[in-house]
Symmetry: C2
Subunit: 306 residues, 2 copies
């Protein structure tokens, strides 16, 4: 899957991920109304609204980008019905040829991580049958529990030819509270980065490892250091746009050949029609606004990479 992702990045010339994190407040009124007319103002209605919203954005952007990253929390907040919209979104994006990164940030003790890994990236056995319940291509994983919480995910990736992005340095303001603490003179995130590099070296695709890392766009200097520490790991970079990261901050996350990182934007793309720059599209053409925002992001990143 890492080879498919790298191939698609090169083919599109867009090291970009569309973050499908649909807050209900992003969904234009006409889409909400239609969903509520069919399912009522229920959790199923909310799920239908975010699914139709996603579908339109995917239909308008799938040919420009290699990958999408649905944030499962935005679906899970609507309970089981919301998770059904997540499942549908994953399936639809895969059908469109997109690589799907499930932003699930799971991580637990070994046997429990194995269950998450099976449900999201692998298969479960039910009697004589096997199923791949959520079936994302990649998943994000929280490393706080250490190697034995991560290894079951790696095992499943090995079997299924899928991949991971391990949280190393997150994009949020208080990420430094624990991640930046100095351990023998070096920040904890570097220690985590070294583990990722080690796991990564052992699990290689053609040129990059299928064990990648998450490093926030909001911390470009740390991105530079981590790029060196994890030479074979693709870096997934959240925090572009709405969270404050800009194209020129991103160069440090990339290798000299312009590869090695893939940048996520969520709100900046999916809620583009709400921004001044794209308001001319109007809520009825929100998908076209998203396409224009993707095109602008591609231009920004290409120009930063020179």
């Amino acid at each position: 899957m890492i080879d498919k992702l790298m191939g698609k990045i090169q083919k599109t010339g867009a090291p970009i991920v569309v973050g499908l994190d649909p807050m209900l407040s992003y969904v234009p009124e006409q889409v909400q109304k239609k969903a509520f007319a069919e399912y009522g103002e229920t959790l199923a209605g909310a799920a239908e609204a975010i699914w139709q919203f996603n579908k339109e954005i995917v239909d308008k952007t799938w040919d420009l980008v290699p990958a999408v990253k649905p944030q499962i929390a935005m679906y899970e907040q609507f309970g089981v019905e919301g998770l059904r919209a997540y499942e549908k979104t994953v399936k639809y994006c895969k059908k469109k040829g997109l690589v799907v990164i499930g932003d699930i940030k799971r991580g637990d003790i070994g046997s429990t991580s194995a269950a998450y890994a099976a449900g999201h990236l692998g298969r479960v056995q039910v009697g004589s049958k096997t199923y791949a319940p959520f079936d994302e291509d990649f998943a994000t994983v929280n490393p706080y529990l250490g190697s034995d919480g991560v290894k079951p995910f790696i095992e499943v990736c090995k079997q299924e030819k899928k991949g991971l992005f391990i949280l190393v340095k997150t994009s949020n303001p208080s990420s430094g509270e624990f991640q930046d603490q100095l351990v023998e003179g070096r920040p904890l995130y570097e220690l985590v980065g070294e583990k990722v590099a080690q796991w990564g070296a052992e699990h290689m695709g053609e040129s990059y490892s299928y064990i990648g890392a998450v490093v926030g766009a909001t911390y470009p200097e740390m991105g530079r250091a981590l790029r060196k520490i994890m030479p074979r790991s693709l870096i997934l970079v959240p925090g572009y746009g709405a969270q404050g990261g800009k194209g020129k901050d991103l160069v440090h996350f990339f290798d000299k050949d312009g590869l090695g990182a893939i940048v996520n934007s969520s709100r900046g793309i999916i809620a583009a029609y709400k921004q001044e720059a794209y308001e001319k599209f109007g809520p009825e053409n929100f998908g076209d606004a998203s396409r224009a925002a993707v095109e602008a992001m591609i231009a920004d990143i290409r120009s930063a990479l020179g």
Copy 2:
């Protein structure tokens, strides 16, 4: 909710949580067969099997214990159908008067944590209606992203009178890899413990805070230190039984009055019928075996607490 939990611990005299972590391999054949006869060997069939398994265990143990802790991964591995069994389990346990601790270990950047918090402990708005999708009483939270990843959970707990258990020192063998790293001479988990103590002091129930901590039974000396660092926080102690923790190791997690901690056992209780000590019950009476295992655990912990 912390006051309800503390009240129930005192009333039952059992600082014990039954971990509802149903692997399909724990579910006796007759229960699986019946579920598969109705739903086929499908994800819905697996979900029905674990739900019926849970129901029997809850029916046989609810009067002995204050709380249950379903581990969401064991449900999530069966996809949306599995999560429906999780939802049913939470609802059923609450109807039985049990306090439900959702072992979800979620944690993300602020706006995303807010979505998890709304979906699990709070409410979501859909048009003019509000819903409480999963509606657990407590949830476990991963602190790796720092304060702004935890605070949205605290906010929802304040509104809904619910509670949290923050991962401080987990029970698994490699938990030390990052959690034990020395920061200015002290392990990182103590730093996290101090944060928990601070959040805890600001969010008090009658005698204990509704911001508690997870500290593994497998690390009793660290439990002793953390008990002092977080004087107002209830400690949720996983790792008893199958993971190696014993009653006598647990005293350090408790206060002098025998309160301050609540010990979880999962496999040791729910799969008791598979152990030599309880095999006389046979798979057909697995619920009675679980009841006997709970009684033995209560006796073990009471004798350790003296």
